[in-house]
């Protein structure tokens, strides 16, 4: 996973401390070196890294603290320091009617983020409109228009007008009908005075309730300067970090935010419209230390679930009918949530590192085969897959007809049976009502871990 490298350096450091008989200088120096390297590779501001090393050294060399006490204090120090590097959790507290202006460097992902966020809030019952003010980049307006269409949101744009102020005037009255207005602006360099002046002007005119900076996860040591400049010019309310699905560790972006006291509200985790998550430093640390992240997974489930589809399945289940087709659409929805490895990384106890990469690709390929197999079945077989179990000839026929193997079909039947069994569990009621809580998730994960073969 993304954070494995940084995580494993921290974990091994902590392990070294707890298993050492004496915390001596040599050990401390070695650990500090590991942690330093991991943090610098994660783009954490170099000065902050060295300051942290000094703090660890000071505590470790302190002769007055001895034995277990020292170990405990060291581990706590490392945890707390990393936590303070990441800043505190702060949620974007939107009033009933609000407007948010987005700004940031070129190509940071502002337009995509706006569409994602619009989708996120419209799923949560807000009446969202997107306003396009990027009159600089070619086709920026078209991009917002197309993304809005995907998110099923109205986009207020003007492809010809070059003056953003005029666009604002044009839509002023119409926008009053919406409760959340997300405003796209042109990409700009925080150090460019002219561009900063322009955004200040827009800020004055629009008086948005929030100003959010969009920053890519892979930004390096320049993160701090850029954040500071934007902070100085506009007093930004928070940050959204994009491209968190890459291999970068976002240390630059995250620590820059913590330093300038700008909370990170959301992180972008993919190219699909629902791939945005709220950011919680504590669960980020948990992920770093390999403890999984239930909250993020739950949120993912919420965004990807198609309510109508869910309702249909729910009804069918209540009637006691759950067919292979229902299974398939259920699995398909799970796929929508993103690639399997991302999901697995979030389920406690399942570590993506332990699952070979090609296995995950295989799982996605399997879905295709299953679809073919299902289309080769008779209606009776789809409705009552149980009849297949005892009749090998049917399975053979389906395999031949769909170009799959009997093993694959048996596997599909096994999955079906497992899901159906699961529905027999007490938790089904909760599942059917769409109420998935933490406890249940853990229960499911436990059950799955033993049974699902990836």
């Amino acid at each position: 996973m993304v954070l494995d490298k940084l995580g494993s350096a921290l974990k091994s450091g902590i392990k070294k401390i707890s298993s050492a008989i004496f915390v001596d200088k040599k050990l401390v120096d070695a650990i500090i070196k590991d942690i330093q390297r991991a943090l610098i590779e994660a783009d954490v501001n170099v000065e902050l890294v060295f300051a942290l090393s000094q703090k660890i050294k000071k505590l470790a060399y302190d002769e007055n603290i001895k034995g277990i006490e020292k170990k405990e204090q060291l581990v706590k120090l490392i945890h707390d320091e990393i936590a303070s590097l990441l800043g505190n959790k702060k949620e974007l507290d939107l009033p009933k009617k609000a407007s948010i202006m987005f700004l940031g460097l070129y190509g940071a992902g502002k337009t995509t983020t706006i569409a994602k966020l619009g989708f996120y809030y419209s799923k949560r019952g807000r009446k969202v409109a997107l306003l396009g003010l990027d009159t600089q980049r070619p086709a920026a307006m078209d991009q917002l228009e197309q993304m809005a269409k995907k998110a099923k949101l109205p986009a207020f744009i003007d492809k010809k007008e070059k003056d953003p102020i005029k666009i604002i005037k044009q839509y002023e009255t119409e926008l009053k009908k919406y409760d959340l207005i997300l405003i796209d602006t042109a990409g700009r360099d925080g150090l460019n005075k002219e561009l900063i002046k322009e955004i200040e002007k827009l800020n004055k005119k629009l008086k948005p309730d929030f100003r959010i900076l969009v920053m890519p996860a892979d930004i390096g040591q320049t993160a701090k300067t850029q954040t500071q400049e934007f902070q100085k010019a506009l007093s930004i309310d928070g940050v959204i970090i994009t491209r968190m699905d890459g291999t970068s560790k976002a240390g630059g972006a995250l620590t820059a935010c913590a330093e300038t006291k700008a909370p990170v509200f959301f992180i972008g985790v993919g190219e699909q419209i629902h791939e945005i998550e709220t950011f919680d430093p504590e669960s980020f640390i948990q992920r770093l230390l390999g403890m999984g992240n239930l909250e993020a997974l739950l949120e993912h489930v919420k965004s990807a679930t198609d309510e109508k589809q869910q309702k249909r399945i729910e009804e069918r289940m209540q009637e006691g009918k759950f067919t292979l087709l229902d299974l398939y659409s259920q699995l398909e929805q799970m796929n929508k949530m993103g690639s399997m490895d991302k999901l697995i990384g979030m389920v406690p106890g399942m570590n993506a590192a332990k699952v070979p990469k090609d296995m995950l690709a295989k799982q996605e390929g399997k879905m295709k085969h299953w679809k073919n197999a299902i289309s080769s079945m008779t209606e009776e077989e789809i409705e009552n897959p149980e009849i297949l179990e005892k009749q090998t000839s049917r399975i053979q026929r389906i395999a031949k007809g769909s170009g799959t193997t009997t093993t694959e079909i048996r596997e599909l039947l096994k999955q079906y049976k497992m899901i159906k069994d699961m529905m027999g569990m007490s938790s089904v009621e909760g599942l059917a009502e769409g109420k998935i809580d933490k406890k249940m998730m853990q229960k499911m994960a436990k059950k799955f871990r033993g049974k699902v073969k990836l």
């Binding site: 993304v2 390297r37 610098i40 590779e41 994660a42 783009d43 170099v46 000065e47 060295f50 460097l105 070129y106 190509g107 940071a108 992902g109 337009t111 995509t112 600089q136 980049r137 070619p138 086709a139 920026a140 307006m141 078209d142 991009q143 917002l144 228009e145 197309q146 993304m147 995907k150 360099d189 150090l191 890519p216 996860a217 892979d218 930004i219 390096g220 040591q221 320049t222 993160a223 850029q226 994009t242 491209r243 699905d245 890459g246 291999t247 970068s248 560790k249 240390g251 630059g252 190219e271 990469k357 690709a361």
Partner: protein
């Protein structure tokens, strides 16, 4: 863009010199009892380097006057910090350290000029870019069209760079056409269409979602038919860890057999730059690299990082929003700016 690094290195070098001078003067006037604490420490440490080995007795003592591992670590620590602060990736810094260490440890410390050595080391990492226009013209004599593929992660500036390249080629009297092989991102085709209109060049395009490799292929066919010199293929941004997307770019490269494969990276990218450049290089064997947004980040360490990891030349730097804002990467210029 290297203003800061230059300044810092200068400071560092001159600080060292000053320190040496201070030490020398102090040695001349031993009567002065109160030395500033810092100088005292420094004198001590310098004496350790230079003097301590001499304390060894006799003839063999001379041979022991060498730069030790520890002392090298200590000396390099300062430089390391400067490089890291200037956005050079850890991996590249470690590489530079290793090669310098191999060269210098065991040498007579008096003969070691670390700043000069560092300059040489960076010099050897950076590769002189071949003459872009000459290379194309030479190849065109044998076979046309000349196909250039651009790839990179999301938002790195591929489309803008393509427009700049097209403008640059036109200025050098080469005819250009474009291929909109980014069939994924919203409005990517409209974006490149606007550039094509402005530059008055032909754009080969298909619907969103169509096979990007085939767009490039059709563009090459068009170029051949209409006797156009250069085809520039724009591709969708992709994160280097998405296997299926990397397979796709591999396919685009395989089908279109471009003469040149360019990675468009950002000057502002931190340590991930090495990872990005490495995987793209492993997947499609890059010809060279263009770093965009060089006007945003004056630190410029990314150039050193990606060159170190790919051993491929940096061809151009993107330095602004206008078509003219494309600079040929000048290694000498960069080194001169470092002013070591």
């Amino acid at each position: 863009m290297f203003g800061k690094l230059k300044e810092k290195l200068k400071n560092w070098v001159s600080k060292k010199k000053e320190e040496e001078i201070v030490v020398k003067t102090i040695k001349k006037t031993p009567t002065k009892k109160e030395k500033p604490k810092q100088t005292k420490e420094l004198e001590q440490s310098l004496e350790e380097t230079i003097e301590a080995p001499i304390e060894e007795k006799g003839f063999f003592g001379k041979f022991k006057k060498r730069l030790t591992d520890e002392k090298f670590e200590e000396l390099f620590a300062g430089l390391e910090l400067i490089l890291l602060q200037n956005n050079v990736a850890y991996e590249a810094v470690a590489g530079i350290k290793l090669s310098l260490g191999e060269k210098l440890i065991g040498q007579n410390p008096k003969n070691v000029d670390l700043a000069k050595e560092l300059k040489e080391s960076i010099e050897s990492i950076l590769i002189d870019p071949p003459n872009f226009i000459e290379t194309i013209k030479e190849s065109l004599e044998m076979k046309s069209p000349y196909v250039i593929l651009l790839a990179g992660i999301n938002g790195s500036g591929k489309t803008t760079t393509i427009a700049k390249l097209a403008h640059y080629l036109q200025k050098n009297k080469l005819s250009v056409c474009l291929a909109a092989a980014d069939t994924f991102r919203a409005a990517s085709i409209e974006q490149i269409q606007q550039h094509a209109d402005k530059l008055k060049v032909h754009l080969t395009k298909k619907d969103y979602g169509s096979d990007p490799a085939s767009v490039g292929f059709d563009a090459a066919v068009y170029a051949k038919k209409n006797k156009i010199d250069v085809v520039l293929i724009d591709t969708a941004g992709r994160m280097q860890n998405k296997d299926t997307l990397m397979q796709e770019i591999e396919k685009i490269a395989r089908v279109n057999k471009p003469n040149m494969k360019i990675f468009v990276g950002e000057s502002i990218t931190g340590n991930d730059a090495t990872e990005q450049a490495k995987i793209f290089n492993d997947t499609i064997d890059l010809t060279g690299i263009i770093l965009s947004k060089a006007d945003v980040d004056e630190k410029g360490g990314t150039a050193i990082s990606v060159s170190h990891i790919t051993k491929k030349p940096i061809l151009f730097l993107g330095t602004g929003q206008e078509y003219k804002d494309l600079e040929i990467f000048d290694k000498e210029n960069l080194i001169k700016k470092l002013d070591l």
